[in-house]
Amino acid sequence: MKKQMLRAGWFWGVRILAVLALLGTARGARAQFGNILKKATEKAQTVQKAMAPMTVQEERDVGREVAAKAVAFFHLYKDDALTRYVNLVGHTVAAQSERQDITYHFAVLDSDNINAFSAPGGYVFITRAALALCEDESELAGVLAHEVGHIAGKHVLKIVERDKALRTGMGEAKAYTPGSAYVQKMSKGILVKIIDQGLAPGDEFDADQRGIKYAHAAGYPADGLARFLTKLDQATEQGGQSFWTRTHPPVADRNARVGQTISAQHWEDTDRPKLADRFAIETKALKEKKA
């Protein structure tokens, strides 16, 4: 009897020990499982953040860096009256843009290259040479409206967002603060993209379509951009420098599409003001300086 009780005691002792051991293992496994789950959640949150659209503030930070580099390289053209005029024309067309969550800024760059470009965050630049090539205000409005179209269409911003999402794996996107190495690299990338490589032809056509829409809605003739492009084509054939003709789709293609839209929308108003006289007065000093 005593022996039987002793054996039963052993039997129970072993079982209790087994239960305790199992409990311990299960707790350890659960802790490890929890840890893995925590890490996975953190990773998912980082990816989610990277995939999320950029905030207006983030967009402005990158655009500001691009603008600073452009200003450092070309320098602003110092003519307060001309800057004011370009801003008045720019704000007139920008007011017709679908995108009103940002403030648009316009400036003239002191460059002989016939160019205009925009950066995320609402920064629009036109060069002194591009202004000199325009013959009236409606052409200037067309060029500025095209650039506003790039910003409204988020053409560069979408590339930046895709890049940000890709770089998340490297932990680079975490350093997404003004002046950071990542923003520096990104702003250089934007400049290389828009000036050396060019945006996708589809984005250029889209900016053209948006541009003529804004210019027309602002009260200008819709064909201002097309007239400027024709002159630009001639100017570059005669040796003028412009990345527009190098990186953008052929002018003939662009103007054909613009013409189709104008025709389809019945925007061929001939009584709309081109404002050549006002343009001549406002750009007199610039053109005299060039001559």
Partner: protein, 131 residues
């Protein structure tokens, strides 16, 4: 005795499942070595990703490398526009803005034209913008 043994056999999986289903414990010492292992494997993974990225050129702006090199895009640009303007975007991108340049950008940002002035400008030009 047999009955108790059966109860116990049934109880094992129940206890095991119950333990796993309950909320996790606060930080446990047992998890520390696992944490270190995970960190090490994560670091290894990040390094591997970095190497992979380096080989590919990295991101959508991987073209940056091509600017200083001799990519087909650059060769094409050289043919079409002459070497004078090739890589200008990269040159601009390399520009280091001074405090004065940054101040100029700030001035550009704070530059404003009042709504009445824009209205007058449009009226003078006989523009009739959509409201």
């Amino acid at each position: 005795m047999k009955f108790a043994s059966r109860i116990l056999t049934l109880a094992f999986p129940c206890v095991l499942l119950g333990t796993l289903a309950t909320p996790p414990l606060p930080a446990q010492d047992t998890s520390q070595p696992n944490q270190t292992q995970q960190d090490q494997s994560q670091q290894g993974q990040e390094k591997a990703d970095k190497d992979k990225k380096k080989k590919k050129g990295g991101g959508f702006f991987g073209g940056l490398k091509a600017i200083s090199g001799s990519s087909s895009e650059q060769q094409e640009a050289t043919r079409t526009a002459g070497s004078k303007t090739v890589g200008e975007g990269a040159q601009i991108g390399d520009a280091q803005p001074t405090a004065a340049d940054r101040q100029a950008v700030s001035a550009m940002e704070s530059y404003s034209v009042a709504a009445p002035e824009i209205k007058k400008f449009q009226d003078d030009g006989k523009l009739k913008p959509k409201q």
